[in-house]
Amino acid sequence: MAKTIAPNNVAKSNRKWITGYSIIGLLLFITYQFLLPWEGLPLGIYDAIYRWMPPSAINESLVYIIMALGLNIVVGYAGLLDLGYVAFWAIGGYCAGWFMSEFFYFLNINFLGSVPAEAPGIHINFWMVLLIGGFVCAVFGILIGAPTLRLKSDYLALVTLGFGEIIPQVFFNGENFFGYNISNGTKGIVGVDSIPVGVKNLGPFDFGWKLLIFLLLTAVMVFISLRLRRGRLGRAWLAIREDELAASMMGVPLMRTKLSAYAVGAFAGGLGGVAFATHVNGVYAERFNFTISIFLLAMVVLGGMGNVWGVILGAFILSWVNGNGLTAFGQLYNEQFGTEIDFASFTFLLFGLVLIFMMLFKREGLLPESRLKLMLHEDELDQIDASSKSGDK
């Protein structure tokens, strides 16, 4: 028989995670900022960290996590399939490229930037560019959402797919966009401003400090996700995911609510894009390809749609395997057995297999949202229910 307890995920407080998150974040930061450069660190540990999780890799996975958290709002919360999320990554990236570099060399605008005032180009403070990137993406989210969200989900997926192809292509061929150079095309925008944090400016190699900043951005996304989820808007998203028709009959404006999911998700895409630009110290059009959208979607699904912790786990695992884990494993394997297998080339085979196995055996993801688990294991639950009922007598 059903019991009256507040189910997980519903009444859980927001505060508890902050402590745990801070501790883990601080440990990571200390490891990479202080332990790694420390002379006394045993060479074995130093090598191991550099082989399995070098500073640049952990920062890159944090960028993926930020993006995946944004996509989770669209896919996991509101239940809208988005196959073109990489577009927001690109737009965010180019916001950083435009407003934090010498790209517009013929201009001289400097707003609290981290470079000398006379430097050519637009140099806006990193923290503001973050917001700009976020809001520009949100606007684009609304622009593509408005005409397309009326479509049924399959068609919507196709349109987002197109959007995810078009935007990177525009930048790819952006050397001459109606007569203007908006992206340097394939050459990309090389070099973006360092991140001012008061005491110093963080350049491309300040991995430890940037780790801290990316951790902060991730925390902000987690915070936003959890808060929104528990509020008026989050409930409406869930209701739409559950039953769109019933939601509209209960006074939920479908278009507005879906659009807000798109906008918030896109905002996170913008944050991730700006963060990524500072991470790789530039913006390169060829990096924003379709596989990224699928990759992000796989992270959300693997981790557990709708649960931020699951999404973080999924994004971390997949970006690690993709970025470093598989190569490192391959090296180890080849050293051990004297083979010369190119493990990195099997990345997508591995992802494919993982996804198939997940769909077969653990459809709800690694750390599922309790609601979704309930839905996907309906049959088993019914059986348990039935057996416990007969056991009652």
Partner: protein, 258 residues
């Protein structure tokens, strides 16, 4: 004006099928009226028109002195026409409380920023909404299931929760589509009492689609009979019972003859 809702000359066409044909229907304030008819008569379709889900191919709907024919479904819900569904359509993986809070969506105001920052205004609004939800849940007799997922409730409780969810919209018109379907006689009786209490205590009118004649005849002030999309009779329960056309079209059939 004594009618809260007036539907004038409503027709609904699905391709070649005229599902509702030129039907006039009004709902007086604080009343219980019923719509009956054999399967496929167009009853649910008529509900779908009133709630804006389908647009009528002809006719107009006036609610509280305002033409709502072209209003979007969520707007119609917001201004006070709430419904339940023939096949229960709760948000199964949301708690009973959340189901009601979703229905309050249009009456709550907190936006994205207020929710993220958890302003005192937002917290107050949420708290008051939760209290009101609890009141309605108690009123509907499902007050002990506040934090239970809707899908875990028993069938009867799900029906009650669906009514509670509709009430959370603070409606002036409540449309119930076969609310006692699948209930046993005792449960139906409890439900009838509940609807009566509703009318007595709240400023609401109820329109009922119902197959169970016992329920219809005992609770309705007026009964309208639909057959193949056409209104064939309208009157007090007693008049309907003795109307020969109704008996022929509906009560005469084995299904309705209990």
């Amino acid at each position: 004006m004594s009618n809260i809702l007036e539907a004038n000359d409503i027709s609904v066409q699905f391709g070649g099928l005229l599902a509702v044909n030129n039907v006039n229907f009004n709902i007086p304030k604080k009343s219980i009226v019923s719509l009956i008819g054999p399967n496929g008569a167009g009853k649910t379709t008529f509900f779908n028109v009133l709630t804006g889900l389908y647009k009528p191919s002809a006719g107009n709907i006036v609610y509280d002195g305002r033409d709502i024919t072209d209003l979007a479904p969520h707007k119609i819900a917001e201004i006070g026409i709430a419904r339940t569904f023939q096949n229960i359509r709760l948000f199964g993986l949301m708690t009973a409380q959340e189901n009601l809070l979703v229905a309050m969506h249009s009456h709550l105001k907190s936006g994205i920023t207020a929710t993220i920052l958890r302003t005192s205004k937002q917290r107050k609004e949420e708290r008051e909404a939760e209290e009101r939800a609890q009141e309605i849940l108690d009123f509907a007799g499902v007050g002990k299931w506040t934090y239970e997922f809707a899908r875990n409730l028993s069938y009867g409780d799900q029906r009650r929760l669906e009514v509670a969810r509709a009430l959370a919209l603070n409606p002036k018109v409540l449309l119930l589509d076969e609310p006692t379907a699948g209930m046993n006689p005792q449960e139906s009786q409890i439900f009838i009492d509940f609807v009566r209490k509703l009318i007595a205590e709240r400023d609401v009118s109820v329109m009922l689609i119902e197959h169970d004649m016992k329920v219809v005849m005992s609770v309705s002030q007026r009964v309208t009979v639909l057959d193949q999309g056409e209104k064939i009779a309208e009157g007090s329960p007693d008049e309907i019972k003795s109307n020969p056309r109704v008996i022929e079209a509906y009560l005469g059939k084995p299904k309705g003859s209990k």
